[in-house]
Symmetry: D2
Subunit: 342 residues, 4 copies
Amino acid sequence: MNFISDNAYGASPEILAAVMAAADGTAVSYGEDALTARVTARFSRLFLRDVAVFPVVTGTAANSLILSALCPPYGAVLCHEKSHIAVDECGAPEFFTGGAKLALIPGDGGKLTPGSIDTALRNFQSGVHSAKPSAISITQATELGTVYRPEEIAAIAERAHARGLKLHMDGARFANALVHLGCSPAELTWQAGVDALSFGATKNGALMAEAAIFFDPASARDFGLRRKRGGHLVSKMRFVSAQLDAYLEGGLWLRNAAHANALAKTLSGGLSKIAGVTIPHATEANAVLALVPDALAAKLRDGGAKFYDWSPSVEGRTLIRLVCSFATPDADVERLLDVARS
Amino acid sequence: MNFISDNAYGASPEILAAVMAAADGTAVSYGEDALTARVTARFSRLFLRDVAVFPVVTGTAANSLILSALCPPYGAVLCHEKSHIAVDECGAPEFFTGGAKLALIPGDGGKLTPGSIDTALRNFQSGVHSAKPSAISITQATELGTVYRPEEIAAIAERAHARGLKLHMDGARFANALVHLGCSPAELTWQAGVDALSFGATKNGALMAEAAIFFDPASARDFGLRRKRGGHLVSKMRFVSAQLDAYLEGGLWLRNAAHANALAKTLSGGLSKIAGVTIPHATEANAVLALVPDALAAKLRDGGAKFYDWSPSVEGRTLIRLVCSFATPDADVERLLDVARS
Amino acid sequence: MNFISDNAYGASPEILAAVMAAADGTAVSYGEDALTARVTARFSRLFLRDVAVFPVVTGTAANSLILSALCPPYGAVLCHEKSHIAVDECGAPEFFTGGAKLALIPGDGGKLTPGSIDTALRNFQSGVHSAKPSAISITQATELGTVYRPEEIAAIAERAHARGLKLHMDGARFANALVHLGCSPAELTWQAGVDALSFGATKNGALMAEAAIFFDPASARDFGLRRKRGGHLVSKMRFVSAQLDAYLEGGLWLRNAAHANALAKTLSGGLSKIAGVTIPHATEANAVLALVPDALAAKLRDGGAKFYDWSPSVEGRTLIRLVCSFATPDADVERLLDVARS
Amino acid sequence: MNFISDNAYGASPEILAAVMAAADGTAVSYGEDALTARVTARFSRLFLRDVAVFPVVTGTAANSLILSALCPPYGAVLCHEKSHIAVDECGAPEFFTGGAKLALIPGDGGKLTPGSIDTALRNFQSGVHSAKPSAISITQATELGTVYRPEEIAAIAERAHARGLKLHMDGARFANALVHLGCSPAELTWQAGVDALSFGATKNGALMAEAAIFFDPASARDFGLRRKRGGHLVSKMRFVSAQLDAYLEGGLWLRNAAHANALAKTLSGGLSKIAGVTIPHATEANAVLALVPDALAAKLRDGGAKFYDWSPSVEGRTLIRLVCSFATPDADVERLLDVARS
């Protein structure tokens, strides 16, 4: 019963098979191969416009490289105070941007709003004493398992662009958000004003594959140089591209995400009926945040469940995070609920 | 007939199989898994001492991260003017170190010598106006297909340590060098004075797997933080470790390198007998540098051979580079020589 | 009636005279001159131990360079959320450290406490996902005109050192704090556990002169290289050192600070008696933060007073900051109070 | 007899007087003062167009900040292998640019030429493996005491702009070059294609004052942020601007440079007549490079002359550098020549 993270699971068989298949013969290295070209074409079709696509192997790389292209060293990136870029990447955005600041914004459900952005922007003086606000980064789905609706994104994008800021979306769990909303990839990104997307696949069935996607390819002109000097240009790129290709093929990515989301819904629904449990945010993607009595948390662990304490215990209850993945067995959810109810 | 680079080929079946096998079940992410621990133990046995091992997916990452640990931002790294870190990594060492300098040193066969190092060091003033020489980086096997003997390395290490510099070895083709020399991994590294090694596997049969290895684990205390903020901590690390594990298992890495080296030897020997061809350096690893008449280069390409022009044509001859890999068919070498002789 | 900042005023006549005098003849450049050596000796006597002294011309340079020596690129500096390094230096600490994070801590009166530091440290996970807490920076006197007592500093230093962090003091207004407390420079710094001090002179009578001071000279071994590559090694250093020399000579620095502090006390006392005015923090140095009715703020400005709005108006009152300097005329304070009372 | 460097001397009386005068009263800090505005206007008149002017206190700051605006982190700056930015700034350009490379180009007399630039550019591959050539930096007057003629600069600028590179001029000794050529500041800079200039005053009579000048003010939009985060925005900026104002007033800068140049000419002419002395480059500015017998060098030093050994002794002769300044006494030159001849 592993609910620690969606990266605790291996990889989808289809993706593994694609990696195997990609090993045959020779190929041009450093991303100039046919498979990588096919992946770019796929993404362009998926997003209904020409996009620039840069496969990498970690979400931190995708996020940080994109932010370095959107925000100058003397700039600031506005983001949620609990966002992955702020608390889980050991300063990678600061490193890649050359020292830009992350301006941390609080907000319910892991989300930014036009209002909270306005408040944050007021903390920046004009002139040269404050860093220059240059980008906003939102996470879709959020770290708390909630999802931005396209109109919420559009409102943030409007704020951003009116002030000359770019909008980045950390889509480590983009598929989970998309499946929840039932809208198109285009609607959820550039049509709502997103400038660049970290498109995640690793957490949803790939071995290690993400893509930095720019909706205005011209803005990515020098991005390849950034990727290379970050050590993120894999020489045998076909092995990354093969993963992305299989991930998108025939809707595998959406099926995987639908599975994970459904389990999370079941889990969330089940837990919410247990005495003393509060589900503080809507369960919209594949993560369930639950405020549970410490005794219950202990019981779950004794029963074999693995999960993460999101916050330390307060007044006898702890906010735990349970993440379902593309490969989490249905039975694990039932078993965990059984333990919880017992 | 692909002799462009050893990264043009796919991956060894044993390594692919290991990746498949690693996909089962759940594992702790971010390198805390059992397979990664096993790989570290393997390397420690291999090198006859406890070593700190950090798997990453590119040689540029391994090199640059190590250099950032060995050289402060105000420091300088001495390296060959044709070394990969100097000419092929788009400034990654400068990026990761925070702006250290590479001091470029000329030298026959892609090698540094105590003498050339002394000359380079004399260019640094004491005081604060010059960057502080902090590390020396050598490539083993070199970019020109030659190999440092242990005593050559020891002489360089002595120079380095006497001046307070650390010695890094870029071992993207470490296996090829080792097989050529027939010595032990320990003799070729820390016993000769190497402080840290970029241990390459990608070019010699892995999909994407390298390891940053520190022979004094204490010196790598904070290296994990550097790897993480560089975006190089793969979440499903088992898929990288599985490659390294299979690579080392049962001597696969040495067999792969022996194959590549043998082909290169055959190629070099064959070409050297053709009129107008000069082999400027001993063929000690898996790359053949050959000065060939431009007409011959054209004939080879017309005949279906792919290779890289190392230097532009001078007086009717071009220095071409032909690289053999773990998977290059024997027949390709024969065929290329047939074309050349025809 | 200029109360905008203490840097609105020129320079003390004694310091100007010293600059003139320093212009005669030739001197060794880049800080190897006799005057600079004299200044180092002076500081060592002042602090009752050998210290390493690096004159620079801005407080931002002193702060950022010191932080780059105390905190690695993958580290974090804990500081008050309103501190100068956090809000007024356009990301200089991030730039000089190579991308370290500032962890912003709230707190009354612009101060950190052991408790608020503990809370902040709990936000850092162990492992590699969080930046590594490496230094604490406190401002003395604070941006809000309050002063840390030696025992408060010692309690913070104890916390810092127990966790392996270094303690930096931004002493842009060190003289004002010292004069308020009446203790010795040693008691206020290294004897309380401070590792490095940005010693300010510019705001208190110099033209442009600050000193980065390390209480353990060995820890500053490579600091000169950092200063040089930051472009902060003034070639004709004697012109900076002459300022510091005259500043310390015969207690000028303490007289200047005493003047500024006394005026601030008068100002604060006078304002506190006016209806609707609140002085939220003790006036311990040369800055007065006052919460004043907006009408009063307007009246003061109409009457010719210049000052800074520290926070935007809330419920009809604005927090204004009035700073007195070494050269603020006594009459200006009286006049401002007259206007206020009228 | 101090010929070590032009920064060994103090400052012109007119400049010292201006600093004194600037100390009166209050002024807006951080460069928003009237004197700084006057300096910008002066430079705009001087260069016959609107220019953006950013006073700083060191040449390293001016150079590095400008290069960071002209060259991205993944870029390369082409410069002479003996240029100040390459050998005397401890990696400041690498630091400020965020890790860009300096591509070192050899060349007679410390000069770049279109031909040597072409050769250097051929070393850069297209694609992502090489850093992107982004700027060229030339020194005027050069470190070897030679001067670029406007048409030489124009030829370099043409090369630069045709390839999308920007042209920077390190004008630490701009006045000396200008006086030698007798042309206008505009002819020597933007009319010849220079994009940005480090305008030096320190070596030619100021205490510490340089200006980063952009000939297209639009290109300097964010430069103020860079200066601030580099710690190079002096709070009491009037004390820097006062120096620049007096420096330009009434042609002081040109008189100072003319004095230095004339002495250098005398020195060069005198030395060239001494047996065994070779003057390898034309003496066009205020520095004399002379290849002298080691015995002569020793005799000069015994006679009280101070100067710098530019290169180590080869075959009994050493290349020494003798620099004359705005304040070098005529008698010192005569005395040195007397010693040399004796």
